[in-house]
């Protein structure tokens, strides 16, 4: 656990203000209001199906890809509303990167995997792309391992290395926020440990938001924890939001206490 006491004094990076989300007629998230602080790791925890991933995908508007999704309320990134009519989704996603549950390496070379984002932004010069690839791979400590085989397929790497490649790919776009949707759940303990170390390292520069089923992981890496649950109408609610050390030593809500002491979920 890190020094949590300083966190609330940091700048607010993402402000969620009374956000509601509907899949068609299904009310999936209700009245979510909380602030995420800059250069910290915030863990979203809670039982399966409580809307953790949906909440995470609120911040890069990934839910928009699903037909029939409607969002009410507002989310602000550095004070700029994301769901404003004039908001540009493409530039939002360049600022808010995402790492998925499974290592989703494209069937291309390691190099092409990493620079696909920068290429979309119109960076064409080989020197610039190589520089981005090197920096991104160094950031996930994969550079020494793969620097001589950048032309090899990304799929030839081990699952743990593939997931680090995916993180490098997200970093190559130069985001400010990184969303990680259970990014270790498909990995063995050793790879998980490496990714966790990487998260702590990245949190010095980036604002990180993770969804995790693994309570120990939340305790190990996160500064702040958000506990979610569905209410009696199956609407995903934010039950408690507090510094991780506080939540796990002294939960304020009975439901949080039941969950983290393993009484359900």
């Amino acid at each position: 656990m890190r020094d949590n006491l300083k966190i609330p004094r940091r700048k607010v990076k993402l402000k969620t203000d009374a956000a509601d989300l509907y899949y068609g007629s299904h009310h999936a998230l209700g009245g979510i209001t909380f602030d995420i602080y800059e250069r910290s790791i915030t863990a979203i925890i809670g039982p399966s199906g409580c809307g953790k991933s949906t909440l995470l995908r609120l911040y890069n508007r990934m839910n928009d890809l699903i037909p029939g999704v409607r969002v009410e309320g507002e989310v602000y990134l550095d004070g700029v509303p994301l769901y404003d009519r004039a908001a540009d989704v493409v530039s939002l996603r360049q600022k808010v990167g995402m790492v998925f549950q499974k290592p989703n390496v494209f069937p291309m070379s390691i190099f092409d995997n990493i620079v696909i984002g920068p290429r979309h932004q119109g960076i064409r010069k080989k020197r610039d792309l190589e520089e981005i690839a090197r920096k991104s791979l160094e950031a996930v400590s994969l550079w020494d391992e793969v620097k001589d085989e950048l032309k090899k397929s990304g799929l030839s790497l081990s699952p743990g290395a593939q997931q680090r490649l995916c993180i490098a790919r997200a970093l190559a776009v130069a985001p400010e926020v990184i969303l990680m949707d259970e990014s270790c759940s498909a990995l063995d303990p050793e790879s998980t440990m490496k990714i966790e170390e990487l998260m702590l390292e990245l949190a010095k520069k980036y604002t990180i938001l993770i969804v995790t089923h693994n309570m120990e992981q939340a305790v190990r890496v996160s500064d702040m924890s958000a506990f979610m649950m569905i209410d009696e109408r199956k609407i995903g609610r934010l039950v408690e939001y507090a510094p991780t050390s506080e939540m796990f030593s002294n939960p304020k809500d009975k439901r949080t206490e039941d969950y983290i002491t393993g009484r359900f979920g």
Binding site: N60, M62, L65, P67, V90, S91, R93, Q94, G97, M98, F100, K102, N104, F106, P107, M108, S109, D112, I116, G117, R119, H120, Q121, K151, S153, L155, C166, R169, A170, V173
Partner: protein, 254 residues
């Protein structure tokens, strides 16, 4: 087994027949003598034209169906039409081509009419195979691409298309095979002239038509088998070459 038997039977029949003369000369005496060069050229030109015309439309439609109108009523109409068209016998396309391209548009019995007709004929197959290939691209690829700040267009061009390439090429090979082997639709639109084509407005006889004519009119069975064998070899070659090309492209990724 049956397939191998057919191929072996034909190849044994013809090996003495195929020689340099057979490949490089024009037929004489209605096909009893000489070679079949003009029919090879005719086959390649008609097929090439059909594929060049149909491919952009086919792949474009497939992407439209798979990426832009998923599940809409328009999709269902286009899909239903494509399925229906795929089931129509080729002679009906031939008749359509004859009425529309040959007479109505005044293109005459020509490579152009034949190519356009065959393009119509292979379009449904192209659309459906390409669409299937696009739909098998994992949704997660699209999500990742979007999450990296790609536009829809960039996602389609840089991620979905390369991943669907293999399936799309398979549909293309299938279509090429159908074009090369087609007789009914070609006789009615490209004609059956035996001379060397001078332009796309020349009438030609394709190898399949030549084979059909030689065999059904009993002109020369050895020459007919020679043509058939060459037809098989040609399709085989096209298959092998495209496979090598696609594998080489995919090798970068795998």
């Amino acid at each position: 087994m049956v397939l191998v038997a057919i191929i072996v039977y034909i190849l044994i029949k013809v090996l003495p027949e195929i020689g340099w003369t057979f490949l490089s000369q024009s037929p004489s005496d209605m096909g009893r003598g000489g070679g079949i060069l003009p029919t090879i050229v005719g086959t390649l030109l008609v097929t090439l034209l059909a594929v060049v015309i149909a491919t952009p439309f086919g792949i474009g439609t497939a992407f439209y169906l798979a990426e832009y109108t998923r599940g809409g009523i328009l999709t269902r109409i286009i899909r239903f039409s494509a399925d229906s068209l795929a089931a129509i016998p080729s002679i009906v396309y031939g008749l359509f081509g004859f009425i529309f391209f040959v007479t109505q548009l005044g293109l005459g019995l020509s490579i152009l009419s034949g190519g356009l007709t065959l393009a119509f004929m292979i379009l449904p197959t192209l659309i459906r195979t390409a669409e299937e290939a696009i739909l098998t691209v994992p949704q997660s690829y699209r999500e990742v691409s979007f999450s990296l700040g790609a536009t829809k267009w960039q996602t389609i061009i840089k991620v979905v298309f390369p991943s669907a390439m293999r399936g799309i090429v398979n549909g293309l090979i299938l279509s090429v095979g159908r074009c090369i082997a087609e007789t009914a639709a070609v006789v009615l639109t490209a004609g059956s002239a035996l001379h060397m084509p001078k332009s796309v407005f020349s009438s030609v006889r394709t190898m399949a038509v030549h084979f059909y004519t030689l065999a059904s009119e009993g002109i020369s069975m050895p020459k007919a088998y020679g043509t058939a064998a060459l037809l098989i070899i040609l399709i085989f070659l096209i298959n092998v070459v495209t496979n090598i090309l696609v594998n080489r492209m995919a090798a970068k990724g795998r």
